[in-house]
């Protein structure tokens, strides 16, 4: 029998970016807030200080800050004719565990979605005609526009100390920035990052070909900064331990650097770690949440009553919790009905491996999670899609993250995967190779969705989430086009003697790394038949449950998601503060 705790106003599931933002804002609005984090407390000091944090085996290989696949994993299949199997090792997602979630171990690549990402269906239809969409695509417009979200993007910029150079201030193009950037109301709070050698070579080659390369915006502070919560950040030192690590320098933006030290000072804000949420409990008519049930650190089941429940878990885990809780109608691809789990997407990435002469010293260990020279000439709808027959796009870049010894040993194709010849090639190429990364959008189809697995269960006896996904033909065509462009730039780079383009091919596999940006499943929308939540993240069927994070995205952009995750979190919580607290009930009728 579960123990019942005293009621709170707001129970938040997950202690990452969205949970920290929404929790702190609601606490500041005099709500009693409890953030339930399944993992443990993790702070930059003492948990992430050097030299101990420089442990590739622990953090990258053994996933110390990721969901533990031994207690909760996913099952995967490419289509509904296959039987999904549970995965013990995966590389397609890094769902965060422990304080800060994925917002702690992320890389800090920081973009806003393009305005056309928000009205993709209507924009492309207007410019190219409805036929530009393959029949299987279920891409749909967001219910909110870029212009509506801009103030919230801005707010997130100044929370995280974003670094970059504005390309478009209030509609005025800026000479020193990215000419394709969507308008922004203020400059970045900090200047762009320094650039390692390989991105510099990429930039010079791309510029020579007439493209518009620029230094990627990042969430790694480039100088000492006091953020919008009055908290200090320091400057990135390009140590190469970003992605999958916590930042030792207070330079990478994370909830524990940018918000939580302020939030935990508030008497009515609490983070409860070791609280693994099992489900949202509903009233008998299923029209209202009563609170959430979780298993605490001692293994005891606890019921936490709450007036409002906000789902802030990793995107696809939000979907699973809604399905486990019986919130919203599960999507059925056969009948094409239901909404929860619908429009799941990944991201369509590819690359071009580059091998250089021995005079070109790349020094791959001199990097940071988000230090890159990138270009948007083929992002979003920045180029004419008419001749190509696909929707979407992506950016091309060289980003130098880390040359860590276990993971990084590039060799040309044809090299044996072990033995003396492998060693010889690793020695030859370790300091003389780089790769162009291409990060492309992903369109959903009727056959790409999330559901509860009928067979396999987690450590608590609950069905695992089943992922059904493969790349739509649209995205494969896009990847071929973008990768060819990348190869063209690679061949033009100084010092490069060999290029190996690797356009994305079917089938999707969950065991190889290809970005970890999973989106959709609780789509935001104006129509309850094709969305789970309304434009304020409020569940249509259960109005005291809100959902935040990348599960809102009806399809994925070619840009990294965190900027839009942060902006939508502020958008949602401001509406709750402004209207819902005063008059609880449906915000859209």
């Amino acid at each position: 029998m579960a123990k019942t705790l005293p009621a709170v106003d707001v129970a938040i599931v997950g202690g990452g970016w969205t949970g920290a933002i929404i929790g702190k804002e609601l606490a500041a609005a005099n709500q009693r807030v409890v953030v339930l984090e399944r993992g443990e407390a993790r702070w930059p000091s003492p948990d992430f200080q050097g030299p101990n944090v420089h442990d590739e085996l622990k953090y990258t290989r053994r996933h110390a800050l990721h969901q533990n696949a031994a207690s909760e994993t996913y099952t995967f299949r490419n289509n509904i004719d296959q039987k999904a199997l549970p995965m013990r090792r995966w590389q397609f997602a890094y769902p965060g565990t422990h304080l800060g979630g994925a917002g702690n171990h992320w890389s800090g690549a920081y973009y806003r979605f393009d305005p056309t990402d928000f009205n993709i269906r209507s924009h492309y239809t207007e410019r190219y005609g409805a036929k530009i969409f393959d029949a299987d695509l279920t891409s749909q417009d967001w219910p909110i526009s870029y212009d509506e979200l801009e103030p919230y993007f801005d707010r997130f910029d100044y929370l995280i100390g974003a670094s970059g150079q504005a390309g478009n201030l209030k509609g005025q193009k800026q000479a020193d920035g990215n000419p394709f950037e969507p308008w922004r109301s203020r400059p970045y709070p900090n200047p762009p990052m320094k650039v390692p050698f390989a991105p510099a070579l990429f930039g010079a080659a791309a510029k020579g070909l007439g493209y518009h390369p620029y230094v990627q915006p990042s969430a790694l502070a480039t100088r000492p900064y006091v953020n919008s919560e009055g908290l200090h950040m320091s400057a990135c030192v390009y140590c190469g331990f970003c992605s999958n690590f916590g930042c030792e320098h207070f330079a990478k933006a994370s909830p524990q650097v940018c918000i939580l030290p302020v939030a935990i000072k508030m008497e009515n804000f609490e983070i409860r770690t070791g609280a693994h949420v099992l489900k949202v409990e509903l009233t008998e008519d299923k029209k209202r949440a009563r609170g959430v049930s979780y298993v605490d650190a001692a293994g005891e089941e606890v019921f936490q009553p709450a007036e409002i429940v906000v789902m802030c878990a990793f995107g696809i885990n939000n979907v699973r919790l809604l399905l486990l809780s019986g919130i919203g109608k599960p999507f059925d691809p056969v009948t094409n009905t239901g909404v929860v789990g619908r429009n799941y997407t990944h991201q369509t990435t590819s690359g071009v491996n580059l091998f250089c002469d021995e005079a070109t010293n790349i020094n791959p260990f001199m990097g940071a999670g988000a230090v890159a020279v990138t270009m948007d000439d083929f992002s979003a709808d920045n180029f004419d899609h008419g001749p190509h027959g696909f929707v979407g796009g992506g950016y091309l870049q060289i980003q130098v993250v880390s040359g860590a010894p276990i993971g990084y040993h590039p060799t040309p194709k044809g090299t044996p995967s072990w033995g003396s010849e492998w060693k010889k090639q690793v020695k030859r190429y370790y300091n003389h190779s780089a790769s162009i990364t291409i990060t492309g959008s992903a369109q959903p189809t009727r056959g790409t969705y999330l559901s509860l697995d009928p067979t396999y269960k987690d450590a608590w006896g609950l069905p695992l989430l089943r992922i059904t996904y493969d790349f739509p033909d649209n995205d494969i065509r896009m990847s071929a086009f973008l990768t060819e462009k990348g190869d063209e730039i690679g061949r033009a780079m100084k010092g490069v003697v060999r290029t190996e383009p690797g356009p994305r091919k079917k089938p999707f596999t969950a065991t190889s790394y290809q970005s970890t940006h999973l989106t959709g499943g609780t789509a935001i929308g104006d129509d309850p038949n094709t969305s789970v939540v309304n434009r304020y993240g409020q569940v249509w069927d259960v109005p005291n449950v809100f959902v935040a994070g990348a599960s809102l995205f009806p399809q994925n952009s070619g840009y990294n998601p965190t900027g839009t995750v942060g902006a939508t979190a502020y958008w949602i919580v401001e509406k709750i503060k402004a209207d819902y607290l005063r008059s609880p009930g449906p915000l859209v009728t």
Binding site: P44, S45, Y158, H232, P261, E267, G299
Partner: protein
């Protein structure tokens, strides 16, 4: 992973020569006003509504330093309403409300925003990152690099011991010791064990004014690029003092060195300056064995903006978040981190 003790390294016998009159002159300069405590202020606290750190403010826009740490009464930030979250901050950490076996997140020490006094004071204006735009990704090399690479250490040794009086370049050994190990108890740094790159950059920065010292600025201005390279290469060739097997010094300083402090967003000193203060990479200086007087002097110079050659201002920011007592303790800690030269 990259640090190994230099225990086995041979220690050259340090010949301590008596400090000439010049030492007294320099000490006098220090006492008269540079590096004093008057400019030390509480950590900056910026209300969230303020457009903090607008990109690339002009270097000259730092407000005039208020006297003795008192915030001006007219400070706009002092009178504006602080966000509720900060203003009402209780001292107690968040606690679990009757949650039985539930682990409650341990609250780290209070963040600066919530604990510092109500006197917001501006940091020195952040150094604008020179020439950087989103379109500027061409690699550049520092001006001191080529002269350093081709330099002859022997010529550096000559200059170090004899100076070049005609050019106003004093002999280095007068203050920094015959083998680059400064006399204990003084305010001059030990140079043995510093990298050639660090030395060359510092001398270049003295020349440009990014780093200031009444003696060193004049000396560096008399030096050519080649002489800077030579002297740097010579001192880089001298062995560092051995690191003590047993760390001495106050516990609080040790904590700052190896763990930093979460509440003030202070990373461990060792993250950049290496395990046991040994230095790291070409440009992050060794702290172990530096005379305490020199250490404190430099921390104060960072604090009051007199020294501005810390790339993007990280040391200026950290030093402002340390108390004078902590700086003193760190000075003791690093100074003691050597065995006596044999």
């Amino acid at each position: 992973m990259m640090q190994t003790n230099r225990m086995g390294m041979m220690v050259t016998v340090g010949l301590m020569i008596g400090l000439p009159v010049i030492t007294l002159v320099a000490t006098g300069y220090q006492m008269v006003g540079l590096g004093g405590e008057g400019l030390i202020r509480p950590t900056a606290v910026t209300p969230r509504a303020a457009p903090v750190a607008a990109p690339a403010p002009a270097a000259g826009t730092a407000p005039a330093s208020p006297a003795q740490g008192t915030a001006p009464a007219t400070s706009p930030t002092a009178t504006s309403a602080a966000p509720a979250a900060v203003a009402t901050a209780p001292a107690a950490p968040a606690t679990a409300a009757a949650s039985g076996g539930t682990a409650t997140t341990a609250a780290p020490a209070a963040p600066a925003a919530a604990t510092q006094g109500t006197a917001p004071a501006a940091l020195p204006a952040p150094t604008p990152v020179p020439g950087r735009s989103a379109l500027d990704f061409s690699p550049s090399r520092p001006s001191w690099e080529a002269p350093l690479q081709k330099a002859d250490a022997k010529m550096g040794q000559q200059l170090a011991s004899a100076g070049r009086p005609a050019g106003g370049v004093q002999a280095c050994v007068a203050c920094h010791g015959a083998q680059g190990v400064a006399a204990p108890g003084g305010i001059f740094p030990t140079l043995a064990g510093l990298s050639g790159e660090y030395m060359a950059k510092q001398l270049t920065d003295y020349r440009s004014g990014a780093r200031n010292h009444p003696l060193m600025t004049a000396i560096a201005k008399g030096m050519t690029d080649d002489e800077i390279g030579q002297v740097a290469k010579y001192y880089a060739s001298l062995p560092a003092q051995a690191v003590a097997p047993k760390l001495s010094g106050p516990e609080g300083a040790r904590k700052l060195d190896v763990l930093g402090e979460n509440g003030r967003a202070l990373p461990a000193c060792a993250n950049c300056h290496g395990v046991q203060g040994q230095g790291e990479g070409p440009l992050l200086p060794r702290l172990a064995g530096q005379p305490k007087g020199y250490f404190i002097d430099q921390m104060n110079a960072f604090r009051n903006g007199q020294r501005q050659n810390d790339d993007v201002g990280v040391m200026r920011a950290f030093s402002q978040r340390l108390t004078p007592e902590e700086i003193d303790a760190l000075g003791t800690y690093y100074e003691g981190m050597t065995t006596a030269a044999k």
